[in-house]
């Protein structure tokens, strides 16, 4: 992946080249071990392999070309930032690097040690200068989904231009009002940054583009539920991860093509694993690239992952924005309504998440759920206890895992996951 041809571009972006080369080398090896070692992958996954291999190369070049045309790049860390508005203002939205243990020591100068790995990671990536996405951003949009992020963005704003959206904590009328004012404030910020007004036409088109991507991912989620499982959980996670980086229109086309292939495979009753393989659903914190640790542990323990109840998963794709609005005002309302449905653990109460998890586990015919909370993540740590209770009522076994990005606990994780697989598989 360490392509000489991109060195000049990376240098211009002020990346730390030796450190960045080191990262790409590790990432490439990691990807080879976890992804390329799989048997019976879909041909359509070649597109994902390509995008990932060029994620710091060709995709960054595209972004630079886009910027040269005068378009702006917006970086985000959360599914609450309404991409519909970003696209309608003629800007590009990308997720920023937050999935690897990078620059931890320097990050701990800005945030306390007992901060989750995801927050430390995005700060570490910036301080170590090895995320070309962060370095390409004209604006980074944060949000107040937890205290850790909220305070981290204050420090982060010394390094990048920041705009922070306030996400409400409840779902009452007043909260909806607050959220709408935040969406409008973001709209203004975008219009000021890009010099483009968001019009009914541009917003309508943007809503359709983002909905189309969600529809493609919904289709993928419906198809992957087949027995025997036609695609690995790792591959579906990767697809969800790439959806945050790739051009939305091109991505949607590729995923729909991959879904055609999946349909064909399902009609032939072909799976990547035996129909009797225990089916597990993941639930909890998002897994950003290259955080494939837990899915890999699960899928090398004799089980297959059949669902991701996570922001890099169904939380980001389940609900569409209503498409009937004609005026900007109507469409903004539709955007607000859709985002207020997100069942993030930052809300109190958040009982709809419990219903969604139980419903999803049943639909996917999951034999069990593995709840994944990042260490020091209070919202998801708390909800792990509630999810376990809700699943117990539904007679679905759950294993609660708390971990971070380091590899030191893999052997223990493997023992727990294998024992859980033995348990739900009734072996």
């Amino acid at each position: 992946m360490a392509n000489e041809q991109y060195h000049e571009m990376w240098e211009k972006l002020n990346l730390d080249l030796p450190a960045h080369d080191g990262l790409l080398e590790v990432l490439g090896k990691f990807y080879g071990d976890i992804y390329m070692s799989q048997d019976g992958r879909l041909k359509g996954m070649e597109y994902l392999d390509f995008v990932l291999s060029e994620v710091h190369g060709l995709r960054i070049k595209e972004l630079q070309d886009t910027k040269a045309e005068g378009r702006k790049v917006i970086g985000t860390f959360c599914v609450f930032v309404p991409e519909e508005l970003t696209l309608a203002a003629g800007a590009v939205q990308v997720g920023l690097c937050a999935g690897a243990e990078v620059g931890q020591e320097s990050a701990e100068k800005l945030v306390p040690r007992n901060t989750c790995a995801l927050i430390k990671s995005f700060i570490g990536f910036k301080l170590a200068r090895i995320c070309p996405f962060t370095e390409s951003c004209d604006l980074v949009v944060g949000e107040t989904t937890c205290d850790g992020k909220k305070k981290a963005y204050e420090s982060f704003s010394d390094y990048v231009p920041m705009h922070v959206m306030e996400v409400p904590q409840q779902k009452n009328e007043a909260d909806r009002g607050l959220w709408k004012s935040e969406v409008l404030r973001y709209k203004e910020a975008l219009e000021k940054l890009t010099g483009n007004l968001i019009t009914a036409d541009s917003l309508k088109k943007a809503i359709r583009t983002v909905n189309d991507r969600r529809r493609a991912l919904q289709r993928l989620n419906r198809l992957r539920a087949a027995v025997p499982t036609p695609i690995s959980g790792r591959d579906v996670l990767l697809i969800n991860q790439v959806s945050f980086y790739d051009d939305p229109v091109r991505f949607t086309q590729s995923i729909n093509k991959l879904c055609d292939e999946l349909e064909e495979r399902i009609s032939k009753n072909e799976g990547i694993v035996d129909a009797k393989t225990p089916r597990l659903m993941l639930s909890g914190c998002p897994m950003a690239v290259p955080n494939w640790k837990l899915p890999f542990v699960i899928e090398s323990s004799g089980a297959v992952v059949v669902g991701e109840e996570s922001c890099i998963g169904t939380r980001n794709t389940r609900d569409l924005v209503g498409e009937s609005g004609e005026t900007v005002e109507e469409m903004i309302d539709a955007v607000c309504d859709r985002y207020m449905k997100i069942d993030c653990a930052c809300f109190t109460p958040n009982t709809e998440r419990l219903d969604n998890i139980t419903g999803m586990a049943r639909e996917l015919k999951a034999d069990g759920v593995i709840h994944y909370a990042l260490m020091f993540c209070q919202p998801y740590g708390h909800e792990a206890l509630k999810v376990e209770k809700a699943l117990q009522k539904a007679d679905i076994p759950m294993l609660s895992i708390e971990t971070d990005y380091s590899m030191e606990d893999v052997a223990q994780l493997k023992t727990r996951v294998e024992a859980f697989v033995e348990m739900v598989g009734g072996k």
Binding site: D409, Q412, T415, R416, A419, F420, E422, M423, K427
Partner: protein
């Protein structure tokens, strides 16, 4: 002949079963050469089938042994051992060299739920080993020594390093070392009971794993828990025994 081998973090146990009977059992330290320790334990015996469990199970599975090797987790191995040898048991506690596990069993022996300590080895055999070292005595003498205490002193930190600091400062205050040792054992018992309660304590409880050889931990748990509390004669052999039983069941299901 079936061999069950439990390669734990501190010790390796071997159980050989032939024609439904345990014909040999033995244990050795794990060391940093677990494979040669396994070979030593086998001592030339050639089983038809090996079932490996414990931390080193995959190491054995990836090694060319004299017989086919299958693996199961220690959770399943202990559950299987317990349910076959003590069918009435509903809760299984296993404190080993670096892990504590609580396993709740349904009638028939299937695992219903389990919990395992996180990455830290606080409150396990390793903790006792370290503390015995601080008291300058072999670990097997540490439990009986602590039983000589009359009033357990409060040790609040579970982290081995911090607990040692607490113990040392109690010593500096002139306290009876036996009461400090008793306090250290009591802190393990407290943590274990909290874990048992989290998983859901159903009687009877079986206490296995190497730490079940420590009479002080056994006594403290027994006093704190209501109802029957069983300790096998060879509490650290249960995993290897369960693994061997798994091998037998597999053979049986293959020929059936």
């Amino acid at each position: 002949m079936i061999a069950g081998i439990d390669i734990g973090s501190r010790s390796i146990e071997l159980v050989l079963i032939d024609k439904g009977k345990v014909i040999h059992q033995d244990k050795a330290a794990t060391t940093f050469q677990p494979l040669s320790q396994v070979r030593k334990l086998l001592d030339g015996a050639v089983p038809d089938h090996i079932v490996a469990t414990g931390y080193g199970r995959n190491l054995l599975a990836n090694t060319d042994m004299c017989a086919p090797v299958d693996t199961i987790t220690e959770i399943k191995a202990y559950a299987l051992g317990a349910s076959r040898l003590y069918p009435e048991v509903r809760t299984l506690l296993d404190i080993g060299g670096q892990d504590t596990k609580v396993i709740s069993l349904v009638p028939g022996g299937r695992v219903m739920k389990f919990e395992m300590n996180d990455r830290c080895a606080a409150g396990t055999g390793k903790f006792l080993e370290h503390m015995a070292n601080v008291f300058q005595m072999p670990v097997r003498e540490f439990g009986p020594y602590a039983l000589g205490g009359t009033a357990a002193l409060a040790i609040n930190r579970m982290c081995t390093v911090f607990a040692e600091t607490e113990a040392v400062s109690l010593m500096a205050q002139g306290h009876d070392p036996r009461n400090i040792a008793l306090g250290l054992h009591a802190s393990i018992a407290r943590r274990t009971i909290a874990m048992l309660n989290r998983v859901g304590l159903t009687q009877p409880v079986l206490f296995a794993g190497g730490v079940a050889r420590n009479p002080c931990v056994v006594r403290l748990l027994q006093e704190a828990l209501p109802g029957p509390f069983l300790v096998p004669e060879d509490p650290d052999m249960l995993g290897a025994h369960g693994a061997a039983l798994h091998g037998i069941e597999q053979r049986f299901s293959k020929t059936a």
